[in-house]
Amino acid sequence: MLARRYATFTGGIDLPDLKDATLDAPVRPGPVPARLRVPLAPCGGPPAEPVVAAGQRVVAGQRLGAASDDAAVDVYAPATGTVSRLTRVATAGRYGPAHSDAVELVELEHLPELPAEPPTAGWRELAAAQVRERIADGALTTFRRGAEPLSGWIERARAAGCRVLIANVMEHEPYVTADHALLRARGRQVAGGLMLLGRAIGAETVYLAADRRRTDDYHPAEDAARELGIEPVALEHKYPTGADVMLVKILTRCETPPGGSPTDVGAAVVDAATCFATYAQVACGVRPSGRVVTVAGERTSRVGNFFVPFGVGCVDLVGAPGPPVLHGGAMTALRCDEATVTSPASDAVLAPAVETPPHPGPCIRCGWCVAHCPARLNVAALNDAFELADVDRAARLGVRACIACGVCSYICPARLPLTQRMNQLNRAVGRVADG
């Protein structure tokens, strides 16, 4: 795709890819669910006010909930159905499962499919303000862990003066191929959405960053991207290249300050699904009603990339016997229970063959966690700080730079749950530092 050299980062690791089962799978409609439990707070935060009542018949695209403030979005019915009750569900929040109210729909009809509507004329010429207006109209969210209203995200990027926008299609986690499948199936549209987002936040440079091994599949997206003034880049495969902080470091050579986000160094990062939803909404006027989800793992026979409406139960979707069902890539996943449903943040629902977690032993000081930590943390020393419950020391060692990538837990021969411990230290440090 290119002949330019980019920076890299120390540490990181070669993970098993485990994507073969879904890599060539086209995006198909998912299994027909018996019910949808549409979360009223897909972004966490305050839930939308429900505007429907039990027993009411709603059609696809009808409003189910009205946003109460800027941190929430309106919620629309992904399919036609009958409201049976209000219930509680869990979605994937940034730091763990986020619980929220939900509207349960049964007797479903008209389940959504991957949008393929022709674009309206003149979408390329829309002014930045018009793009932002249409995004706000469409109740768009970002399509990643810790989803937030897309309008809010754009405002934040604009306020921080972001000059660089990066579409992160690295998909560095094992099993996950949702963005890959989307980029194969709707490459031109993803590139179009990326261009619109770049215009909305006023970015000067827009990158489309993809895995070097997969670029042969991305020619339509690549051509469209060049045509729209986006720079496609292919990067080496190394976990966690696809972490936002790492990607920003690779492409801009700026290091995000510990505990900050890439917008602090003037770079905004989105994923392919957000770009596609932006395109569908802004250029075609189609509200998001679902997303591409990878279903994979050794314990399920229902393997593939499916277009799944929001609110499908993860456990039903994967159809695997017994726990654990994982939400998201295996390195950073959350465990699903019956209450977990798909939301904009669901890129994968997995049922991998995982062994029972081993009992951690004492640290043998092999130094592998230190050598492989992409944040250059002395994880072994931080583990000591954890075992002594010494939050001050952890803060001095820089635990807030941890990006929760999971490399240290993966590699630790003593089987210590290091990532989890870093997260705990991080929260403790955050509590002390922020007040």
Binding site: I364, A380, G398, G406, A414, T419, D434
Partner: protein, 426 residues
């Protein structure tokens, strides 16, 4: 998961399995790490058994058995579970055997094992917590307790035709010994009794000032070029150094695993290949020892029966002689064994690469310094490793790579302000 981070909750939960991401695990567990290291350590042990005969195998068996049994008993008494089964006890036993000479009596081996396991490991709380390399603790203890027995004096080496099956204690001092090769066993014995190269080298470079030197250790008549070698190679038998070939293949006096440099390098390379050892650590150790030997002053015979102190022995008699001399210093002791298997012990070295380089370089310099100047220390390389082990936690704390996103030397600021890195204000 308990959110409050207090010593009590940590103590309660720290050995419980965690059902959280990541759900993938690398296949190598601590037990496998120890067993693979053990396998690598068996290579120099086998070489030692070939070179020093069945007595080396007996010493190794005693060490391993004693370590395993003593560790089992201590953990029973202390009611603590041993990590990774007994794999680390096996490893400690083999490493200890590598450092002992083949003629070590059984009780010395048992005492060394007891010190290694009890003082070296159990006192600190087992694997991962000890400060000093346990095998070296055992070796150091017996070096102190049995100085006469283990001092580097005249030590035996099996003859070519008695390898593996010979009895290494059945040794004679050979007359007119020029090298191990092409020399069959002395009449009625299995082994040659030869001066430990350390002692021979010390004679070259550290002779007492009042004793008139019989010859200049390093000096070599320029006429005898080519084939550079210190004059000691041509000296009369008792002061003669073995040929370099003997040092490389290990046919010279020394501990069971100390001598066979070639096998040590291969086994150490395997550990590097498996990522159990970062190459920077042994390289820093060996390089700094080499540099010290190349620079540090030695005492040489001057003209007309005087002794003069000369810096840069690498250069003083020409590069060829100096090079041979420095390599002799490096290869004649236990330095290579220390660099490959002992200084690299995971729990007793810093974890960061930078820390390891500092640690290794300091240990190498110290080892060579002791070897050159402190003849009273019989095990200079081991003593240096132990000494630096003591400082490893301190080096670990002092050497801090720049954390991602922090400014260079930001930790200086964090010394005064523990939360120097607040979240940037939006």
């Amino acid at each position: 998961m308990a959110d409050e981070l207090t010593a009590a909750t940590v103590m309660r939960t720290r050995r419980l399995p965690a059902f959280e991401a990541p759900f993938l695990r690398a296949p190598e567990g601590a037990r496998r790490v120890f067993l693979v290291t053990l396998g690598a350590a068996c290579a120099p042990l086998l070489a030692g058994v070939v070179l020093f005969g069945w007595r080396a195998a007996v010493v190794a068996c005693i060490c391993v058995a004693a370590c395993v049994i003593i560790e089992h008993v201590t953990y029973r008494v202390a009611h603590t579970p041993a990590l990774g089964g007994r794999s680390h006890a096996y490893l400690t036993g083999v490493l200890l055997a590598l450092t002992l000479p083949a003629f070590t009596p059984w009780y010395v081996a048992v005492i060394a094992s007891a010190f290694a396991v009890i003082i070296g490991k159990a006192v600190f709380g087992g694997v991962g917590h000890f400060l000093w390399q346990p095998a070296l603790v055992g070796r150091f203890a017996v070096a102190v307790m049995f100085p006469a027995l283990l001092a580097p004096g005249d030590w035996p080496v099996l003859a070519q035709n008695r390898l593996l099956v010979g009895d290494v204690t059945d040794a004679r001092t050979p007359m007119d010994y020029r090298g191990w090769q092409d020399r069959s066993a002395p009449e009625g014995a299995d082994a040659f009794r030869l001066p430990h190269p350390r002692r021979a080298l010390a004679k070259l470079t550290n002779r007492p000032t009042d004793a008139p030197p019989a010859y200049s250790g390093l000096a070599m008549p320029r006429l005898e070029m080519p084939g550079a070698a210190p004059a000691a190679l041509h000296a009369p038998s008792p002061d003669r150094l073995p040929p370099m070939r003997d040092l490389v293949f290990g046919t010279r006096p020394g501990g069971i695993g100390e001598t066979c440099i070639i096998v040590l390098l291969v086994a150490g390379g395997y550990l590097v290949y498996r990522d159990y050892v970062r190459w920077q650590l042994p390289v820093a150790f060996l390089a700094s020892a080499w540099c010290v030997a190349a620079v540090a002053p030695v005492q040489l015979a001057g003209p007309s029966q005087t002794v003069e102190t000369v810096w840069f022995p690498l250069l003083v008699e020409g590069l060829d002689v100096g090079f041979t001399y420095v390599n002799y210093q490096l290869l004649s002791g236990a330095t290579v064994l220390a660099a490959t298997f002992l200084i690299t012990e995971m729990s007793s070295r810093p974890a960061t690469v930078g820390g390891q380089v500092i640690f290794g370089a300091a240990a190498g310099a110290l080892a060579m310094g002791l070897q050159l100047y402190v003849t009273a220390v019989p095990i200079p390389a081991y003593a240096a490793v132990l000494a630096m082990n003591t400082f490893a936690p301190w080096i670990e704390r002092m050497w801090r790579p720049r954390v991602l996103g922090r400014r260079r030397l930001a930790w200086l600021g964090s010394l005064v302000h523990p939360f120097g890195e607040r979240r940037p204000k939006r």
